[in-house]
């Protein structure tokens, strides 16, 4: 294990960032748009909240440019809860990231859910003290983001749909690509890196360890306790829930149930109990109802 891997050469600051990601494992991170929602999330057992201007389902419905939250709202959320507060910045918008860092948020999500600020480049995340999480659809995208300094990866899914199919696809894709790398002989890894569009040293490390060097959570489309448990059984280490909670009939009950489902994800009997009588789930949009240009998972370079 003491090989000279990419991750073992990173700074102490990088390790501290990944350390916080470790602390968030086995939990649920909930999207909230104000302090009242943040309190509901904390009371239900969220291990962190994600501050954003509008939940993804509303961004879809209302259109327009989606940006970082108002700092005033972020401060109100920070004052309302004791759990970590995350916030989203636009892809490539390093000034929004600087502002979020100045506000003292605990994690920044450079997120495809907001309207990208740059159509070619992401934020160079090693320059920040605050850790970043970024979305991915496949292993190459995950390793590019880690190379830029992301301390946590989340598979993207398709946010704001309540349809789990893309989350499953992305998680399976990452998992299968990792498994494939572990079977390749050393001389094939450079070409694999070229094909994945990923840094060679990270490809090498993943091939030798069989896992990403940072935690991998799941996002985009979780609407029920069963969805959350499905992602955990597929290998997610925690679950982000966006519109699924506050667009449902009874946010408190659903949030509580999703937290319980992440703890007992391997126990169908308990899952059956906690899935009972939760009220209406979010209405949702089936993925096949979306045009290619209505899909947001494709944002990210």
């Amino acid at each position: 294990m003491e090989q000279n891997f990419w991750s073992s050469r990173q700074s102490e600051q990088w390790r501290i960032k990944v350390g916080l990601a470790e602390m968030l494992k086995g939990g649920v991170i909930m999207d909230v748009t104000n302090a009242a929602q943040a309190k509901i999330a904390e009371k239900a057992g969220a291990c962190a909240v994600m501050a954003l201007e509008r939940v993804p389902a509303d961004i879809r419905a209302q259109g327009g440019v989606a940006r970082m939250s108002d700092p005033k709202i972020i401060k109100e959320i920070q004052d309302a809860v004791s759990i970590p507060v995350m916030a989203k910045c636009r892809i490539g918008h390093f000034v929004e990231a600087q502002i979020l860092e100045a506000l003292g948020v605990d994690f920044i999500d450079e997120s495809e859910v907001l309207t990208p600020a740059d159509d070619r480049f992401h934020v160079y995340k090693h320059n920040f003290k605050v850790p970043f999480v970024c979305g991915c659809r496949d292993l190459g995208e995950a390793l590019r983001r880690i190379g830029e300094g992301a301390a946590m990866i989340r598979t993207k899914g398709e946010a704001g749909t309540g349809d789990i199919i893309e989350a499953v696809r992305h998680m399976r894709t990452v998992r299968d690509e990792i498994a494939r790398l572990t079977r390749l002989p050393d001389e094939e890894l450079m070409t694999a890196a070229k094909e994945l569009g990923a840094p060679f040293e990270l490809v090498w490390e993943v091939a030798k360890t069989g896992k990403l060097p940072v935690p991998n959570f799941s996002a985009g489309g979780v609407a029920t306790p069963a969805d959350a448990a499905l992602m955990m059984q597929l290998g997610a280490e925690s679950v982000f829930v966006g519109s699924g909670i506050f667009k449902s009939g009874n946010p408190e009950r659903r949030a509580t149930a999703i937290v319980s489902a992440v703890v007992h994800y391997k126990d169908p009997k308990i899952l059956a109990e906690i899935s009972e009588d939760l009220g209406e789930p979010m209405v949702g949009i089936g993925l096949d109802e979306l045009n290619e240009n209505q899909r947001i998972a494709g944002r990210g370079w």
Binding site: M23, K25, S82, V105
Partner: protein, 193 residues
Amino acid sequence: MSSSRIGVLALQGDYEAHLKALARASENAVETIEVRRPADLESIAALIIPGGESTVMGMLLERFGMFELLKSRIANGMPVFATCAGIILLAKNIEASEQTRLGVLDVTVRRNAYGRQVDSFHAPVQTTIPEIGTIDGVFIRAPKIIALGPGVEVLAVYQGDPVMVRQGNIVAATFHPELLPGAPVHRWFIQSF
């Protein structure tokens, strides 16, 4: 049912890092289990409470019917090792907080006492335990122990504050020995109980 099985509370947090540290410390010789239900709690000889969110763990202990059982097992002498959030969960007093706690460790803690994540840090921590010596302390949104009861022994100090303590069968640290490549604290914990 094994008399030497060590459980890691797996309701939320870095329980996997603790399981791996136990495996490193014992060269896989120690039997471990993820503790999520009362029956798991009954089957173990010792328990680790991981880092994570103390409010979440406290709430889930109650939700899943484990709170009283855990409290009585600790009171009856089950060895416990807790890190970061774990020490908050064990503490008798938590400054400015009404959150659920087991209250079995006679200390007062201040949550997030060093600040937010941007204030998290690494620093060498010198312990009084010869088998452990000086280790790399990883402090992540860490609490501070701001008062100690008479029965609490200080095992390590950082900048004047106790950061690792022992009270009878309970050992607790405000930092994260489970995130170190070696596992000296886990090895010592396994050997001393």
